[in-house]
């Protein structure tokens, strides 16, 4: 195996057929792997007529050429499908050990089609691929399932859904290695709709680099940069991702109580510093990672991993809750039930605002920490108000006559940054292919952390180019597949040379950025084919028209229109948001759309 195994495993749950098909190496060069490969395959397999929760939808689990190679953070993998929450193309990305182990079984990707008659699990080991009955596991939580199936980090890895996925919550996550998640956009519900409970992997093959000497050199050089960056060598290991809570709050970009304000008086109480001072037990790393940003934590009642910054925001500032232990326990609960913490927290905050306005009959109010855990359970089991909340904030708010109070873009709940205080982030949220998401470029670096250089977060000119390049770069990372935290210290210049050393094929930094741009445009084409348009490149009314009242971002709304115009120009799209023929030809995507969308 040099980078790519060259094989795709294809399982049809309807018939129980298991097949191996060769990976098209031309496709691999153009789309790399992971998210890129998933997008390319989904383009062929799932069209606009397919219901995301129907048997015709597919799940594509994909690794990339760097996975399991031993390069720093080469443990990650992705899942691609059509999202039951947004209806867009969805890829979600996770760390831990499962991706590494799956690669070691000798496949680049796994396609799961159809729907099993009864609860099923897939087991891939050196003995072969088996489909087994999983009725005894249906209803069990993620921890129970992982333990029952023999989860052992370096040797045997379990990917599964919990009750939320089984009950088709549109915010359900697929969990791997018990605490790592593929969460945004509800892929857990797709897995549940297929009656697929778990995928267990045990591998014995190696992704050994073709040029060992060059690989060792790149490992060394990359390691130097990771050590030199205070973010990857100090801040993240010491305080975790929640290290940014205080700085985002200080500049007035921390969405509070469903984006009604952009500073939270309880920010420090739920910050990374507070976590380190109180509930942190130790940090932890995923396979082959020198950064070790994972939090292992313990509260008075429970222990587990996390919470991350986004989770701490979602159950914290978004819900007006400043009790860190309650938030940590909410995180453990979401891990166990298999739920996306961002969407769940945001949806609960939305429900709190609707309840306060008398639009929903519920005792939920901002600050009701005592109701948080039960509400999360209700969402997973679809009981009480949870029956409706499980549909996500947009459908929920719409059903109660106030869709504008769902803080989402393309129906994916926005994460922990108020774009009225970070204009570039607003453009990012509005144009992200899977909906309102920060993991498709994150402008936190340039607009707040001065990474690589500080740009004025409240300005709008020139943002488009930086956003587009960050989006392309994120697509590269998601396709190699490695961790975006390395990208905060290391550039494509390095990734290209590492890939060259592993695969034996020459890649330049720009080859990778072109692949990123190609993947971005393909995802765009997919959404256009689904019926999305420029009208969907937008943000909630509150962010466009209600200025922030107090704090450093007071008076600001998101000035989206001029940024969007510059963005379409930069991307080589027409002003209606559709890629031009010249752009498609340059990216070699023109053959895919011959005769299709103009």
């Amino acid at each position: 195996m040099e980078g790519w195994a060259g094989k795709i495993l294809d399982i049809d749950l309807d018939s129980g057929t298991v097949q191996t098909t060769p990976l098209d190496m031309e496709m691999a060069r153009l789309f790399l792997g992971g998210r890129g490969l998933g997008a390319r395959l989904l383009w062929d397999l799932v069209g606009p007529e397919v219901d995301p929760l129907g048997p015709e939808n597919v799940l594509i689990f994909a690794t990339g050429p760097l996975t399991a190679s031993g390069a720093q953070t080469s443990n990650r993998f992705s899942v691609t499908t059509k999202s039951p929450l947004t209806g867009t193309i969805l890829d979600a990305n996770s760390g831990g050990w499962w991706g590494m182990q799956f690669k070691r079984t000798g496949y680049d990707a796994l396609i799961v089609r159809g729907k099993a008659k009864d609860p099923t699990l897939i087991e891939i080991t050196p003995e072969g691929v088996a489909l087994k009955d999983a009725a005894h596991l249906w209803g069990k939580t993620v921890f129970e399932t992982s333990e029952a199936l023999g989860q052992d980090n370096n040797r045997r890895n379990v990917l599964c859904i919990g009750p939320a996925g089984e009950n088709l919550s549109r915010m359900a996550a697929i969990m791997n290695d018990a605490t790592r998640s593929l969460a945004r956009g509800g892929p857990g519900a797709v897995m549940g709709s297929k009656n697929l409970k778990a995928i267990v992997v045990v591998g014995d093959q190696k992704n050994a680099p073709e040029d060992r000497e060059q690989f060792r050199f790149m490992l060394y050089e990359t390691g130097k940069l990771l050590k030199a960056s205070p973010l990857t060598s100090q801040a993240l290991p010491e305080f975790g991702t929640a290290v940014v809570m205080n700085v985002v709050n200080e500049i007035g970009a921390l969405p509070t109580r469903n984006f009604q304000a952009s500073q939270f008086e309880g920010a420090d109480a739920i910050s990374g510093e507070q976590m380190t001072d109180t509930i942190l037990v130790r940090n932890q790393a995923c396979w082959a990672c020198p950064i070790a940003c994972t939090r292992v934590t313990r509260t008075e009642k429970a222990e587990g991993e996390g919470p991350e910054y986004e989770t701490t925001w979602a159950f914290g500032a978004q819900c007006g809750i400043d009790e860190l232990e309650v938030i940590a326990e909410a995180n453990y609960l979401c891990n166990d039930l298999g739920l996306d913490t961002i969407s769940v927290g945001s949806t609960i905050g939305c429900a709190m605002e609707l309840a306060e306005r008398g639009l929903v009959d519920s005792e939920l109010r901002f600050g009701r920490a005592d109701m948080l855990h039960d509400t999360i359970r209700d969402i997973a089991y679809r009981r009480g108000l949870g029956t409706e909340l499980a549909e996500g904030s947009y459908r929920f708010a719409e059903a109660h006559g106030a869709p504008e109070l769902s803080m989402s873009a393309k129906m994916l709940e926005l994460p922990a940054y108020d774009p009225r205080g970070m204009q570039g982030q607003g453009l990012l949220f509005a144009t992200s292919n899977r909906g309102g998401c920060h993991m498709r470029g994150n402008m936190l670096g340039p607009e707040v952390l001065a990474l690589p250089r500080l740009i004025d977060r409240l300005g709008t000119q020139g943002k488009a180019g930086i956003v587009a390049i960050h989006q392309d770069s994120a697509a590269v990372i998601d396709s190699l597949v490695i961790c975006k935290f390395t990208n905060m210290a290391v550039t494509e210049e390095y990734f290209a040379r590492t890939l060259t050393a592993v695969s034996g094929q020459t890649f330049s930094a720009d080859d990778l950025m072109r692949a990123g741009e190609r993947i971005w445009n393909l995802e765009r084409l997919y959404n256009l084919r689904e019926g999305f348009s420029q009208a969907d490149d937008t943000l909630p009314d509150r962010l466009l028209n209600e200025p922030v009242q107090d704090g450093p971002s007071a008076g600001f709304t998101v000035k989206l229109a001029p940024m969007l115009e510059e963005y379409y120009q930069f991307r080589g799209w027409k002003q209606d948001g559709v890629p031009t023929q010249a752009t498609l030809e340059r990216l070699m995507l023109d053959s895919l759309v011959e005769g299709a969308t103009p």
Binding site: L225, P230, L231, N246, A450, G551
Partner: protein
């Protein structure tokens, strides 16, 4: 008197989260902050009285790099927040 807020590991060095400190510019307030505290001074400043790379100083929510840096003039009700490096490297 301006309020200085400390974050990250600067809190351990300073032994406090917030301090009221006199100063008419950011530089003056930070100088007062680091008086008799070499560990804190070392964490914030490098040679020549410059801020260490990627130490962020934010005044009333506005990054001082977008104003006059250490020479930014302070009102007596201003809040200065200092963050240790949480970014750096080639990117």
């Amino acid at each position: 008197m301006p309020l200085v807020k400390l974050f990250g590991n600067l809190r351990q060095h300073a032994g406090a989260k917030h301090l009221d400190l006199p100063g008419t510019t950011v530089r003056e307030a930070l100088e007062t902050l680091c008086t008799d505290n070499d560990a804190l001074r070392d964490a914030i400043f490098q040679a020549g009285g410059l801020l260490r790379p990627h130490v962020r100083v934010v005044v009333n929510g506005r990054d001082s790099e977008l104003e006059q840096g250490l020479d930014t003039i302070l009102d007596q009700t201003d809040e200065i927040a200092i963050f240790p490096p949480i970014a750096g490297g080639t990117r």
